[in-house]
Every structure is written in structure tokens, then in C-alpha cells.
């Protein structure tokens, strides 16, 4: 069981859905949803600055198409902390997009563990749970 999960998606229903799917199988102790990627980023950077790495989320579900800061921009902003994150946090892109180009693009980010399509499948959740 994971300690903390961030769900970053500008669509409220998506957050609700993901959170409830994960709660049902007791995926983690704490879920935190963000409508704005930059808010999630601010929280992470605050933790980095404090060196408070144990409060970093274990898992982040990230949507790509969001206003203001897209999922890509969010990933780019985390590049300086790649080292710290790689051992502590897995990032899963969770998007309704089925664009092949984006799947390819996601592979270039080392901190991205996998590319998942909405809605979250039980099998995918089970896979991630096994790594805990």
C-alpha cells in the first residue's frame, strides 16, 4: 500500500473517478487531486527545498492536456529533480488521448514510468500495486 498519490487533471470527474477506483482497492493511504498542474508543482518544489523527501508522493497520475500548464510542461519543470524523484516516485501519464506521437514522446522522459489510458483499468492498478 502506497502512502501518497497525486492525481493531476483539470477534469474534476477524472480526478473523482481515479481517486474512487484506487480507494476501492485500498491503493494508498492518501490521495490528493490537483486541477492545476502548477499547484502540484509548487507543492513538490516546496518539499524538495525543505529536503522533505519522505513526504513526496509515491505515485503521480498526470493528465497531459490541461490549461495554463500542460502535463509536458509539468514534466519539464521536474527535470532538475529527476534524480531525487526516480528512486522515490513513479509518474504515470493518465490521459484520454490515444495519440501515438504522445506515447512516443512520453518514452523520452525517464521519470515517466508508463503511459496509461483513461479510464484506469483494474489490471493496470494491480500492476502498479505489486511494485509497492
Amino acid at each position: 500500500m502506497y502512502n501518497k498519490v497525486f492525481i493531476i487533471d483539470d477534469d474534476e470527474i477524472s480526478i473523482f473517478l481515479a481517486e474512487n477506483m484506487l480507494e476501492v482497492i485500498e491503493f494508498a493511504r492518501e490521495f490528493k487531486g490537483f486541477l492545476y498542474a502548477n499547484e502540484a508543482l509548487a507543492e513538490l518544489i516546496a518539499l524538495f527545498k525543505r529536503g522533505d523527501y519522505q513526504h513526496l508522493p509515491d505515485i503521480m497520475f498526470l493528465d497531459l492536456n490541461m490549461p495554463h500548464m500542460s502535463g509536458w510542461e509539468f514534466l519539464d519543470a521536474l527535470m532538475p529533480y529527476e534524480q531525487i524523484l526516480s528512486s522515490r516516485c513513479q509518474i504515470y501519464i493518465l490521459t484520454s488521448s490515444i495519440d501515438a506521437e504522445e506515447i512516443e514522446k512520453a518514452k523520452k522522459y525517464k521519470i515517466v514510468s508508463s503511459f496509461l489510458q483513461k479510464p484506469l483499468e483494474d489490471s493496470a492498478i494491480a500492476e502498479i500495486s505489486r511494485k509497492a
Partner: protein
């Protein structure tokens, strides 16, 4: 007396050369000696009893009468020579001694004793004549005449002698010829003098020094003077030839100088006499025809080159000889490697002179130039030749056709100043200026203007022309009208743009399908799975159902949007246009928001001239304005009442419609380029609303307009719509 008989006296009288007569006191011959017959042809008997005076020449008579009258007084008188009639040959000169014997009883008369002196007189007269001639020759000779004794001292000189030597005093007898001889010549002159003294006449030139110490050149003829077979002196004639010598020398110098000049002329030059014989040739001509001077001089050119008799050159030479006027001729000789010679043939005293140059190369060049010139003037391209300062020297007809400017209008002007105008690209202008400065070849496309003000696109190729040392001489610019090409290009660009737009739209649809359509579907799918995992009694259950419904409603919304967008895009070409009054349509739009405005306490400002109308699609204009007002209402600031401004102003292309509010506003840096895209949302939790501005932009473009936005967070947003035919 008695010793002698009468015959003795008779013979004495007969054979005496003297003529003896006795004249009585009346002047009649009383006695005439017989010798008269031998002397004068008369018989003595004929004369006796005749008057003596009748035989005397009338001119001499008065003098003789006077003598005779004196004879009566004196005993004896001698007459001067007078003329006496002779029987056969006219008059003879006589000299007579008259002895008065009137008182002698035995005689009783005047005894005349006459001698014929005719021969003596003639001889004397001839001697006088010789003397006169000699004197004339001596004194009046225009040259100096002088005589010297055998020692070389001057004995006599004439006037001219003084003049030549400019002497004032009469020359002294002790002056020696060596005294006036120019010292270097003395030895030579002495030798000549000696030979002359030995009897040999000499002619020579020598130099003398005159009284003013000036050296003169004289030509001297020196002759020995003989008397009784021996040389008794030397006589000479001297002529001052100083000036003649100088003139001759000058002439020689001139002639030599002329020869040198003609020789130094690198152009071939020769002269022919009236029979076409060479009288002069310079080396250049010899070199050209590969003959020596000796082969030419004195020989006829047409004997040396018989084939030239068929040439125009021959005809022109004859013409010059006949008319005496110079002629210029250029002739090509096909049998001689097509060599072309350009002649100047001109007459002079004694023949014709000819100089010529080989213009073969120039002719080839000229023909080449003519062809080039033909190409340059007839080509449809504009050709401009500029000097090194970049000002026009020459343009072809093509340029005139292209630009509308004639040659005389543009010479001296700078092409770019003349042709470029206000819409010519500034960067291109800068580029052109830079290239001229660098003096390097360049080509570019530039918007030029005709004389009429009409713009046209030209491709220009500008080549700087430099000499061997790299010094700039000219620029040659070639202008090609590429307006059609540019139009085609613009159409292509527009086509590409359209395609790009289509493509973008297709991408938008892909996006709609992949995301905005998929998102609510994914949610619905997820929620429908989730709902089975929770108990129907749990509080979540109801929420999940609610969310499920929302998702499906969103799905419906997106599908509706797709329908709307498709209908706008398909309407592109068939859109009905009508006259729309801008104020009226604004009022219609605003009326639908009446309730919200009242509720929000909004202030709506409308500044639109009631006369502003536009030919457009009313439904789209309505939709555009409705969307913008709707946005203003939706994103109004919670901190202040909405103030909405609807303004229309005229610009030179149509209308500018501004919709501005004092709402939330957006950070332009964040939203730029994204604002008008489909399903781009800048405010979360307002799902499915990302279509509004995309639709607005699509509709504005469809009716031929353009939309711009300015916004600042917390300040508000202003949309400017440019309406007008040209705002595509």
C-alpha cells in the same frame, strides 16, 4: 719736181690710202684724187664739179660747214669723224685735214686730205662696249665681285661686297682675303686660291666673318685673269648663301622630322604618286604586308598586289586622285582571312597618302556588340546599365515596357530610388543597398512601382562589371517581371495556407475525437465500472451516477459542438450575405443578456454610428458578438461590476469592432497563440466551453475578417474584430 714725171704723181695719188681733193671757193670739187674709187666707189671724174657738201651725212653737215668756214681763216683744220656717202655700202666714216690754199695761185682752193676711219671707229666702239659690259658685270652684279692680285690682296671690290661683309669703310689695298676668311676655312681657301692662280677656275663654299663678327656662308666662283697668255690676277664672284643654307638645313630637318614622325606612327602609312608608285612607306606598313621598303619604293602598289585592282580600295584611291577630297573606307577581304582594314585616303601635292588600321578584331567585336545590343534592346527583360556610382546610363526597351519610364527620363537616376515604393520590403531595400556597397553580384525579388504608380514584382540580377585591376566600371541589372509568378505563388501560399488550415482543422477533429470526445467517454466508462464496485446504499453511489450523467451530457455537448463547427466550415462558400446594420445587430445580441446585466448590475456602453452597415452574414455576426458578450459575462470579475463596451470605428479598410470588458482577464503570455484554439480552456471547471473562441475566430474568418485580443489579469479583455473585404 722735174725729176719726176706726171705718171709718178698719178700712181702715187691712185694708190695712196688717203683721199686727196681740192674744193674751190664755192664748195665744188675742183679736183678728186683717183684713190677715191677704191675707197668710196665713185669715179673721180663723177665727183668733179659736184658740191662736196652733198656727200656729207645730213646729221654731220652743220659741224663740217662750220669747220669749213673756219678753214677760210686758219691755215689748217682737222675735222672730227663724219659720215661720207659711199657708192655701194652707205656711209663711211672719214677724218679730213683741210688746208687753205685759196691764196695759192697754183691751187686756188682748199686741199682736203681724208682718211677712211670707219674700221677704226667700229673697233673703238666695240672696245667701249666691252668695257661697259665688264663695268656693269662688276659694279651692278647682285653678288659680290672682286679682284685679287696674285698675292691675294684685294685690288677692287663692288658695292655688294661691302654689303655682304657689312663694311662701312672702303677696303684698303692691303687687305688680304685671309683677313676676312673664317679662320678654320683659311687653309682650304688658300689652296683653292693657289690653284686658281695656276689657271684653274674654282667654285666652292666658304665662310667669312663680316664686320659685325658674324659668320656667313658664301658661294665663291674664282677665275684666273689672263693677259697675253699669263695669269695676272684672280677675279671672283661671291654669293651670300647663309640664309639659303639655313633654309635648306631647316627644310632637311623638317623633312627628317616628318619622316621620323611618319616612321614612328604605329599605324601603317604610305604615299603613292599619280601612277600609284610608292613614294613613302613607314615600317609599320612594311611589316603588315611583309615587304621591304626597297621592294616598295618606286613600284606601283597595284603591280605588287594585282588583286587589289578589284577592291573598293582601288576605286576609292582613284576617286581621291580625281576629286582631291579625302575618303574613308572600311573593307573586308574574304580571300585574306576576312581581314578588315579601315583606310583614310587623302590627297596631297604629288599623290595620295594612305593610313589604315586593322579593324578585324574591332569588327568582330562590333558585330558581337550589335548582336548583344539587339538582344539587350529586344529582350522582354528590362536591362539597365549603370555607371560606377549606380546611376542609370542606359536602359533597353524592355525596361521601358516594364516600368513605363523612357530612357531619357531615367538617365542619371538611381534605379532603386526611382522604382521602389512604400510597400517595398524594407529588408530587401537594405539588402540591395548593402550589395551595391559590397560591389558583388546579387539577385533578389523586389516590389517595384511603374511610372503609373502600379506595383509589380521584379526579379533583379545585378552584376558589377570590373576591369582587369578590379576597378568598378559599371553595373548591369536585369529585371524580370515576376508579378504573375508572385501571384501564382501567393495563390499557392494561400492554397497551402488553406490546406494547412484544413489540416489544422483535421487535427482539431482528431483532437476532438481523441480527447474531448474520448474524455467524457472514458469517464463514463470508468464510472460505469466503478458503480458496480460500490454498494448502491453507499453515499458514493449517488455521486457516481451524478458524475456519469454529467459525463454523458458533456459527450452530448461535444457532439453538438462538432455539428456547429462543421456547419460553419461547410458554409464557407455558400454563405448568404446581406446588408447588416452594426448598431442594430448589437442591440439584438445585447437584448438576450438583459436579465444577466440587470442581475450583475452591469454597465453596457454602446458607441456605434447608426449609419454603419456592412455586407456580411448576419447569423455569423450575431454568433460572434453573442459569444464575446457571453464570455464577458462568464468571466466577469467577482470584485467589481461588469462594464462592457461595444464600439465600432472606421478604418481605411472597413470597420473595427471592439468588445471590451473589465473582467478577470488573462495573462497574454500564457494564452497567446492558444486562445482561439478548439477546446483550449483557460479557466478550469468550465468544461466543454473551449469551443467558443475557436468558433468566433472561424466565423470571423469566414466572413472575411480578422480578430485580435488584448488582455491582462485583473484588468479585463478587449477583442478587436476587423471587418472588411480586405481583412482576410
Amino acid at each position: 719736181m722735174s725729176l719726176l714725171n706726171l705718171d709718178f704723181f698719178k700712181h702715187l695719188l691712185l694708190n695712196s690710202t688717203d683721199l686727196l681733193s681740192v674744193i674751190d671757193e664755192t664748195g665744188m670739187y675742183k679736183y678728186v684724187g683717183d684713190s677715191v674709187e677704191a675707197a668710196l666707189g665713185f669715179k673721180a671724174a663723177e665727183m668733179v664739179g659736184q658740191s662736196a657738201l652733198e656727200y656729207i651725212h645730213p646729221e654731220d653737215l652743220p659741224a663740217i660747214v662750220e669747220i669749213l668756214s673756219n678753214a677760210g681763216v686758219a691755215d689748217k683744220v682737222i675735222t672730227p669723224p663724219y659720215r661720207f656717202k659711199s657708192k655701194n655700202d652707205g656711209w663711211r666714216w672719214l677724218e679730213t685735214t683741210v688746208s687753205n690754199q685759196l691764196h695759192n695761185e697754183a691751187i686756188r682752193g682748199l686741199i682736203t686730205n681724208s682718211r677712211d676711219i670707219t674700221e677704226t671707229l667700229i673697233e673703238r666702239s666695240e672696245k667701249d662696249l666691252h668695257e661697259a659690259y665688264y663695268q656693269s658685270l662688276f659694279k651692278e652684279h647682285p653678288d659680290a665681285v672682286f679682284s685679287l692680285n696674285l698675292q691675294g690682296y684685294f685690288k677692287s671690290v663692288n658695292k655688294q661686297f661691302y654689303r655682304i661683309l657689312r663694311l662701312k669703310d672702303i677696303i684698303q689695298p692691303d687687305v688680304h682675303f685671309a683677313d676676312i676668311t673664317y679662320p678654320p676655312d683659311v687653309k682650304k681657301v688658300k689652296g683653292i686660291f693657289q690653284r686658281t692662280s695656276a689657271g684653274e677656275p674654282n667654285m666652292f663654299e666658304m665662310r667669312v666673318v663680316d664686320a659685325l663678327d658674324e659668320v656667313k656662308v658664301v658661294h665663291v666662283t674664282l677665275l684666273p685673269v689672263y693677259l697675253s697668255g699669263a695669269v695676272i690676277g684672280v677675279q671672283g664672284i661671291a654669293k651670300d648663301i647663309t640664309e639659303a643654307i639655313q633654309a635648306q638645313r631647316l627644310m632637311q630637318e623638317h623633312s627628317e622630322q616628318l619622316r621620323k614622325i611618319l616612321e614612328s606612327v604605329t599605324e601603317p602609312f604610305f604615299a603613292l604618286d599619280a601612277t600609284w608608285r610608292y613614294t613613302f612607306t613607314n615600317q609599320a606598313h612594311c611589316d603588315v604586308i611583309q615587304k621591304s621598303r626597297d621592294e616598295l619604293l618606286g613600284n606601283s602598289i597595284f603591280e605588287i598586289f594585282p588583286w587589289m585592282l578589284k577592291s573598293d580600295f582601288y576605286l576609292k584611291c582613284r576617286e581621291v586622285a580625281q576629286t582631291g577630297k579625302p575618303v574613308y573606307l572600311e573593307e573586308t577581304y574574304p580571300d585574306n582571312n576576312n581581314i578588315t582594314l579601315s583606310y583614310s585616303i587623302f590627297p596631297f601635292e604629288g599623290g595620295i597618302a594612305i593610313n589604315y588600321i586593322d579593324t578585324t578584331a574591332q569588327n568582330v567585336l562590333k558585330r558581337e556588340m550589335e548582336k548583344l545590343s539587339l538582344v539587350a534592346s529586344k529582350t522582354i527583360n528590362g536591362v539597365v546599365i549603370m555607371n560606377k556610382n549606380g546611376t542609370i546610363e542606359w536602359v533597353n526597351d524592355g525596361f521601358t515596357r516594364l516600368s513605363g519610364y523612357s530612357k531619357h527620363e531615367v538617365v542619371g537616376l538611381v534605379p532603386s530610388m526611382l522604382l521602389q515604393g512604400h510597400e517595398t520590403d524594407k529588408e530587401t531595400e537594405q539588402f540591395i543597398r548593402q550589395k551595391y556597397k559590397e560591389q558583388t553580384y546579387f539577385t533578389t525579388e523586389v516590389l517595384n512601382y511603374r511610372k503609373t504608380g502600379e506595383a509589380y514584382w521584379a526579379k533583379i540580377d545585378v552584376t558589377p562589371i570590373k576591369d582587369a585591376e578590379g576597378n568598378l566600371l559599371n553595373y548591369v541589372a536585369i529585371q524580370t517581371d515576376i508579378t504573375e509568378k508572385k501571384k501564382a505563388e501567393a495563390e499557392l501560399i494561400k492554397l497551402a495556407d488553406d490546406l494547412h488550415k484544413q489540416n489544422l482543422n483535421l487535427q482539431q477533429f482528431t483532437y476532438i475525437v481523441s480527447h474531448n470526445l474520448r474524455a467524457p467517454v472514458a469517464n463514463a466508462l470508468g464510472l460505469s465500472r466503478l458503480v458496480r464496485k460500490v454498494s448502491p446504499d453507499s453515499p458514493q453511489f449517488e455521486t457516481i451516477l451524478e458524475k456519469l450523467q454529467t459525463s454523458i451530457t458533456q459527450l452530448d455537448g461535444v457532439i453538438t459542438d462538432i455539428g456547429t463547427i462543421l456547419s460553419v466550415r461547410d458554409a464557407d462558400r455558400t454563405l448568404p450575405r446581406e446588408n447588416v446594420n452594426l448598431l442594430q445587430i448589437t442591440s439584438e445580441v445585447l437584448s438576450t443578456f438583459q436579465d444577466e446585466f440587470v442581475l450583475m448590475n452591469a454597465v453596457v456602453d454602446v458607441h456605434i454610428d447608426s449609419n454603419f452597415t456592412i455586407i456580411s452574414n448576419k447569423a455569423y455576426l450575431y454568433s460572434i458578438l453573442h459569444n464575446l458578450v457571453s464570455n464577458a459575462v462568464k468571466y466577469s470579475s467577482p470584485e467589481r461590476n461588469l462594464t462592457l463596451k461595444m464600439e465600432v470605428s472606421k478604418d481605411d479598410r472597413g470597420y473595427v469592432y471592439t468588445v471590451s470588458d473589465n473582467g478577470l482577464g488573462m495573462d497574454m503570455q500564457l494564452v497567446d497563440n492558444q486562445l482561439f484554439k478548439l477546446y483550449k480552456r483557460f479557466h478550469p471547471n468550465t468544461h466543454g466551453k473551449g469551443i467558443g473562441l475557436f468558433l468566433v475566430k472561424t466565423q470571423v474568418e469566414t466572413i472575411g475578417g480578422k480578430i485580435e485580443v488584448k488582455s491582462a489579469p485583473g484588468m479585463g479583455t478587449a477583442f478587436k474584430i476587423f471587418l472588411g473585404a480586405k481583412n482576410v
